[in-house]
Amino acid sequence: MSDSQDILSLATAWRSAGEQVAIATVTETWGSSPRPAGSQLAVTVSGRMAGSVSGGCIEGAVAEAAMKTIASGVPQLLDFGITDERAWEVGLACGGKLKVFVEKLA
């Protein structure tokens, strides 16, 4: 009953249609993070987006990182949380912390 499975199907369909796609996956959470490990966000260079890795707090920053990963082909492990310096830009209002793995769908 994991909706991340549908995100992967959707991302696969986008890829097959010729889109450049990255997938971001929550790998670990602490505290009151809104989405569990395994939650996924798929983004394309053309601006399509599906799924979520938080309640909407960090999706923008993750999408930005995803563009870099698509361009370089190098995956990234992103850290988000209130103790992180990123908190000033894209902090989690809920006070949770999480890690997000971003990879290109080759």
Partner: protein, 234 residues
């Protein structure tokens, strides 16, 4: 994710085979488990992730692995192609469940009434037996007709289905339990049946009753406190 791994993962999911995509962090090397020749500790962690249906990061030796559990969808077997089922089926599909409707009455079990869902018109005990409910399966009987509900419940109670519910008032349910008792089911087994089915939210309309059933399904699946409390109260 390489095209080869994505193809393997897609094939496993199409075949409803439970698999784990293991990603080494932060580098991103990946493999699909179970596989031959994998570190025993990693293999065991992957199996645990599937059993708990929970993805997460584990540290094995000096390496962090993100284990993404891909279990096949949970199943909901609905006995009775009735009005409430017509509300229940699309809501369950929206939740990602794999739904089967069982009703030998062909006038009820039509594609027009139940589009895009698997329909079985076998006798209910034969259908449930063929579907072989496992620990990720829920069985709900909604016909109100003992001829159809009872044989389905009889088989469901002999299975490890994690949720069994049966529609009917308290009086109807008490009589149902008497009949199942006479068929040889123990009190412990009978206590597994949620009856009247669904959380008591005062549901009246078919969609409301469907919602109460799915709410109870979620409570059972997530081991919600309220479910444990209800189970204790019997």
């Amino acid at each position: 994710m390489t095209p080869e791994l994505l193809a393997d993962l897609t094939a496993a999911r199409a075949a409803k085979r439970p698999v784990v995509m293991a990603t080494r962090l932060p580098g991103g090397e990946q493999m699909l488990l179970p596989a031959e020749g994998v570190d025993a500790e990693l293999a065991a962690a992957a199996q645990r992730a599937l059993d708990r249906d929970e993805s997460g990061t584990v540290r094995i030796g000096n390496t962090d692995w993100f284990l993404h559990a891909y279990n096949p969808p949970m199943r909901l077997i609905v006995v009775g192609a009735v009005h409430i089922s017509q509300a229940l089926v699309p809501m369950a599909a929206q939740m990602g469940l794999s739904v089967v409707v069982v009703d030998p009455r062909r006038s009820f079990a039509t594609e027009e009434r139940f589009p895009n869902v698997t329909i079985m018109t076998d006798w209910t005990d034969e259908a449930i037996e063929a579907l072989a409910p496992d620990v990720r399966t829920a069985v709900v009987t909604l016909t109100h007709d003992p001829k159809l509900d009872d044989p389905a419940l009889d088989i469901a109670l002999k299975s490890p289905a994690f949720y069994i519910g049966s529609l009917g008032s308290r009086r109807t349910h008490a009589r149902r339990l008497d009949r199942l008792r006479a068929m040889g089911h123990s009190e412990e087994a009978l206590a597994r049946i949620k009856g009247p089915v669904g959380l008591d939210i005062g549901a009246v309309t078919a969609p409301e009753i469907a919602l109460s059933i799915l709410a109870e399904f979620v409570a059972a699946r997530r081991n919600a406190e309220l479910f444990a409390r209800e189970a204790k109260a019997g």
